[in-house]
């Protein structure tokens, strides 16, 4: 099963419902063999986008191109795209082998060839020997693998996955993430993956398209979205963040309530300053620089401790690794909050 990845292009793809724009003119180019995640809160349009690519939802406007040719007018069965559904959608009245054989049977393949392909697909997802079972006799994790095998057995160039790991517990979800990465590497198939789980998106994807209200808010690699968010929405959706509204003037960031800190050079004007909690450093009150604050709360989290520090009217969160933290202030202690120059991210408004 050596599928070759297909290149997918979405051009001004739009889906309007009577009183809302579910997807509002999306442009996206996905390279052959890429793992792209559509990430976003529920109602952001990510599943609608996926359903338009699969052919289940007719777009209001725009185009979908697979390997250069438009597929927007094709019926779902003629698109040759693998789809893994949220609930797996295995056929309960068929055996596992028949489920996996289904797409091959629909393509008129000869029986012996089908049997060989099914066997290979079962091996690929490490379920050899379970072909005779019914879906309900398998665990949720095994059902997930069958759904994957069934969507890949006909060697589509593109695989769509709609929140496929949502029903699994944490441990199983992590196993499946590794499994998915392995399959993606082995097969070279292009994957478009929908999830609302940012951790999953960060772990799996080559690139992430973060969606909000039917549009792509930011498109980039995981570290782009995490370290250089382009908007408050991205900063708040991905990871934890400290966000301060203020102005930059001559290399200094100031907030209306008196916080003042030097920042990496930027054009002057109204900005949003974002600081990831793990970039925050706490120092004793005696330190000469940094912002003066008071520890209002601390939560022990095993490998780290999360401090909440009141700085003026704002509260900043610091996530400090326990392995290398000589300074451990208690609740009520006066501290200095600082960070290495350049660790902050300035988002122009």
């Amino acid at each position: 099963m050596a599928a070759k990845g297909g290149a997918l292009v979405l051009r001004r793809l739009t889906k309007h419902y009577p009183n809302m724009a579910a997807v509002d003119g999306i442009d996206l180019e996905i390279a052959a063999g890429e793992f792209l995640t559509l990430l976003g809160p529920s109602g952001s349009g990510k599943t609608t986008t996926l359903m338009m690519v699969a052919g289940f939802t007719p777009p209001t406007a725009g185009d979908v191109l697979l390997d250069g040719s438009s597929i927007a007018g094709l019926a779902p069965e003629r698109r040759n795209i693998g789809v893994v559904f949220q609930n797996y959608a295995l056929f309960p009245h068929m055996s596992i082998a028949d489920n996996i054989a289904f797409p091959l049977k629909m393509r008129g393949m000869a029986r012996p060839a089908i049997a060989a392909k099914v066997e290979a697909a079962l091996g690929l997802v490490q379920l050899s020997g379970l072909g005779g079972r019914r879906p309900r006799q398998l665990s949720v994790g095994q059902q997930q693998r069958v759904a994957l095998a069934r969507a890949l057995v006909f060697e589509p160039g593109l695989l769509l996955m709609d929140e496929p790991l949502g029903a699994l517990d944490k441990k199983l979800r992590e196993d499946m993430q590794f499994e998915l990465k392995r399959l993606h590497g082995e097969l070279g198939v292009t994957i478009v993956y929908v999830t609302h789980d940012q951790e999953e998106a960060l772990t799996l994807s080559d690139r992430i398209a973060l969606m909000n209200a039917g549009r792509i808010e930011q498109l980039g690699r995981a570290e782009d979205l995490y370290e250089r968010p382009v908007s408050r929405f991205v900063a708040e959706f991905i990871g934890e963040s400290n966000l301060l509204d203020g102005r930059v003037e001559a290399g200094w960031f100031t907030t209306p309530d008196g916080i003042r800190a030097p920042v990496a050079a930027r054009a002057d004007g109204a900005v949003l300053l974002m600081l990831r909690p793990e970039k925050v450093v706490l120092a004793p009150e005696s330190a000469t620089d940094g912002l003066a604050g008071t520890v209002s709360e601390l939560v022990y989290g095993g490998d780290f401790t999360r401090y909440r520090v009141a700085v003026g009217a704002a509260t900043l969160t610091a996530k400090i690794a326990n392995s290398r933290a000589p300074f451990r202030p208690a609740v009520g202690a006066s501290v200095r909050v600082l960070w290495h120059p350049g660790d902050e991210c300035i988002i122009p408004k």
């Binding site: 699969a54 052919g55 069965e77 698109r79 040759n80 789809v83 959608a89 289904f102 393509r107």
Partner: protein, 263 residues
């Protein structure tokens, strides 16, 4: 305690009465069918199987039963096919007029059968279609199809629509999806619907009276005539047999459903 026990006693009493009223008429007929005297009599003074013998020996009754069976089989096939397709369209279709369409399609269930019978009579008489098995098939199919629609649509609403999307994405056309995924999903409901369609036709008397004419006489119509003109005790034997047929068919449908759920 009496205050707590009283509602319970009333409930039992009420349920008992319901059961008695449902079962008693059938029991009376069944018992009367083993009557040994030459008149309709309850309770019977003597016992015999003579009315059963008479039913199976009489060509008149035999022909009526055969016609009923033939009509019912054709009606079952036609209404199950039509009703299942209609239900799939209603539940999975994308039309905006779905609710109105559904009301329209099941409307034969709310129109009094007598109105339907008179209407069909005036419609079919000029076409010289009354008095034929074809007219009976037509009339019964109209009445049986809504029953199939209601039963199959209910099952479809409970079934998982994403299975059909999955089938399409795996390369199945719409028809093959219906054949390999949709229909197997609701097969027990289709079976039950077919059983009800069969009985709807097999037991039907009003349409049979209006549309059958003198030539196409079904079993229920023959019973009705026999009731009016002679009060033949053979009726009780036939009624008992009809009850048995209905019970067996419904029980079979129910068992098939259970077996499906267990597999």
């Amino acid at each position: 305690m009496p205050s707590a026990r009283l509602p319970r006693i009333v409930l039992w009493l009420f349920c008992g009465l319901v059961i008695v009223f449902l079962v008693a008429p059938i029991l009376v007929i069944v018992i009367a069918s083993f009557n040994g005297t030459p008149f309709l009599q309850f309770p019977p003074a003597s016992w015999s199987l003579r009315w059963y013998v008479r039913f199976f020996a009489s060509e008149r009754w035999y022909e009526a039963a055969l016609l009923s069976l033939r009509v019912a089989v054709v009606v079952t096939i036609a209404s199950t096919a039509l009703g299942t397709l209609a239900a799939i369209g209603l539940v999975r279709g994308r039309t905006r007029f779905r609710a109105a369409l559904e009301l329209f399609l099941v409307s034969p269930m709310v129109v009094p059968v007598i109105v339907m019978a008179v209407g069909l009579y005036f419609l079919l008489a000029p076409l010289r279609l009354t008095g034929s098995a074809a007219a009976l098939v037509l009339g019964h199919t109209i009445v049986a199809t809504p029953i199939v629609i209601v039963i199959v649509a209910a099952a479809l609403r409970l079934s998982d629509g994403s299975l059909e999307l999955a089938a399409r994405s795996l390369g199945a056309t719409w028809w093959r999806t219906v054949r390999y995924v949709t229909v197997p999903q609701v097969a027990p409901a289709i079976g039950a619907a077919a059983a009800f369609a069969f009985l709807t036709s097999f037991d039907e008397v009003v349409l049979a009276v209006f549309l059958g004419g003198p030539d196409a006489t079904t079993l229920p119509k023959r019973m009705w005539e026999s009731m009016r003109f002679e009060i033949d005790p053979t009726l009780t034997a036939i009624s008992t047999l009809l009850t048995v047929v209905a019970t067996v068919i419904l029980a079979a449908a129910q068992l098939a459903r259970r077996a499906e759920e267990r597999s």
